[in-house]
Amino acid sequence: MSEAVAPAPGKGSRGGGGLSLRRKRALIPLLFVLPGLAWLVLFYVIPIVSQVWVSTQTGNPDDGFVQTWNFAVYPEAVSEYLPQLGRSFLYAGIATLACLIISFPLAYFIAFKAGRWRNLMLLLVILPFFTSLIVRVVAWQTLLADDSFIVDALKAIGILGADGRLLATTFAVIAGITYNFLPFMVLPLYASLERMDRTLLEAASDLYASKLTAFRKVTLPLAAPGIFAGTLLTFIPAIGDYINAQLLGTPNQFMIGNVIQSQYLTVREYPTAAALSFVVMVIVLVLIAIALRFVSTRQLSEAAAS
């Protein structure tokens, strides 16, 4: 963390504090973080690490599981569910790319062309996401259903064959994921474009750069942190998504999240589920570690909360 820190209130204003007072002051931030930090350690760090403990047990749901340090579960689980694992990355990757293609012109328009409509447009981007996620996915079921107006229209213009359908296809699942994560792409893109120094574009045009060259050599590089943050914020949660595959797809579209969910909650094969979820976590941590070489935690977390 490199940002400047404001002086602690009162620091230096009262002279003879003495050692005990100074020590008391040093304790204050620790007291402040302790409850929150304890919550995260107890209900985030330990649970994540304990996945290893759960995964290496053997047994069955009826008689219970005992710890046998059976690490063989990892290669077994991964090879058994390799299609779902691969599909997760493939779908998340395509959806991220689709998000980028849809979002970039939108973010560009909001940042540079929207003028006084800017705040309204930003609001419109976020607003749909204040209805329940599940209800939105169910609404997509309605929109993509076999007799919906979208399917009828696509049939009428010949994009979809007479017996073609959208619901329960790979397309529907990827489209659903794209829809769900769109704001996570738009907002960081917008933030990086909006922060851009516009005089640089004027400088480029003064130096006889064409619009396209200026875009390629000035706008795009300056938007790179936003593209990067948006990609990460879309791709990582998309890997774990299982609602879209569940409600808009068929078992042929199931992703790793569907497997973890059914292994934990339906089949109650806890070790396999824990192993798979730990594998996903490790992959995500690696991705974040790579990402942090390019942008700061701060940029990422602010993009995440925007």
């Binding site: 820190v5 209130p9 009162g10 204003s13 931030p29 620790l30 402040f32 973080v33 929150g36 930090l37 919550w39 995260l40 209900f43 304990s50 996945q51 403990w53 759960v54 849809i102 979002s103 012109p105 328009f109 062309k113 930003l122 609001l123 419109l124 607003l127 749909p128 204040f130 209805t131 329940s132 599940i134 209800v135 939105r136 609404a139 079921q141 309605t142 929109l143 829809y179 619009k211 990460l232 949660p237 299982y242 409600l247 999240g257 973890i260 969910q261 909650l265 806890y270 589920a273 979820s277 976590m281 995500v284 974040i288 935690t297 701060r298 990422l300 977390s301 602010e302 995440a304 909360a305």
Partner: protein
Amino acid sequence: MRTTADKLRNLVLGTWSILAIIFLFLPIFVIVMFSFNDNQGRFNFTWQGFTLKHWKEPFAVAGLGEAMGTSIAIALLTTLIAVALGTFVALALVRYRWRGRGATGGLIFLPLATPEVVLGAALLGWFLTMGLVRGFVTVLIAHVMFTLGYVVITVRARLEGMDTHIEEAAADLGANQATTLWKITLPLLAPGLAAAALLSFAISIDDFVVSNFTAGQTVTFPLFVYGAARQGVPPQVNVFATAILVIVIGLMFANLAWQRRAARREGIPVPEAKPLGV
């Protein structure tokens, strides 16, 4: 000077943007529209005529009202706990230097970057190991865990934009740290706290994935909808979803107006209308 090429490009950009926003709103139109659908039988997939009957009897479906009540209770408690814990973490991160500050910032960020299915699975595994019975309390624990980071980030942003001189003046006038915090810092922080509260409430009430893993027999609104999705979602669900949307929009505008007024009073050039105050 605007060339034809420029105009054409702007037209294409504008059209693309409007289409993207229509895409974003398509399911919202469906949700609102089908809350007025005079559906026959269980399914609410095709339009069969306008009616207000679902709005008049939102509690006609067994279990839905209870689920909504549970969701609201969990979201309120989550908001209360997460804002309380998160505000102090943010204060420590912004106002003090201490060892472990960087690491704490990283840890706060991690749950936001973890796929929800991993959060849910990890908590379920942990609760099973501990022999905890899953229900209301375990969902609450989980929701506080993953909203905490959002609170910290929101409050931190507000704290950093705040004038420290008033706090220093209070200290110079002999106010101790607790008094300064209570009488100066927290009131100045209020709009940020409101934004953080709104955000955690919205995230909590909408959560499906983590609740799916940690709820046991407890049913929240998203869990009810998911369960109903297999046999046909009743239109009352659309009524509730629409109502939540309207309430959230109302709260958002209220908070925005409040932030603007507070900003004018303080003379701080506050972020022009970022919808959540983030």
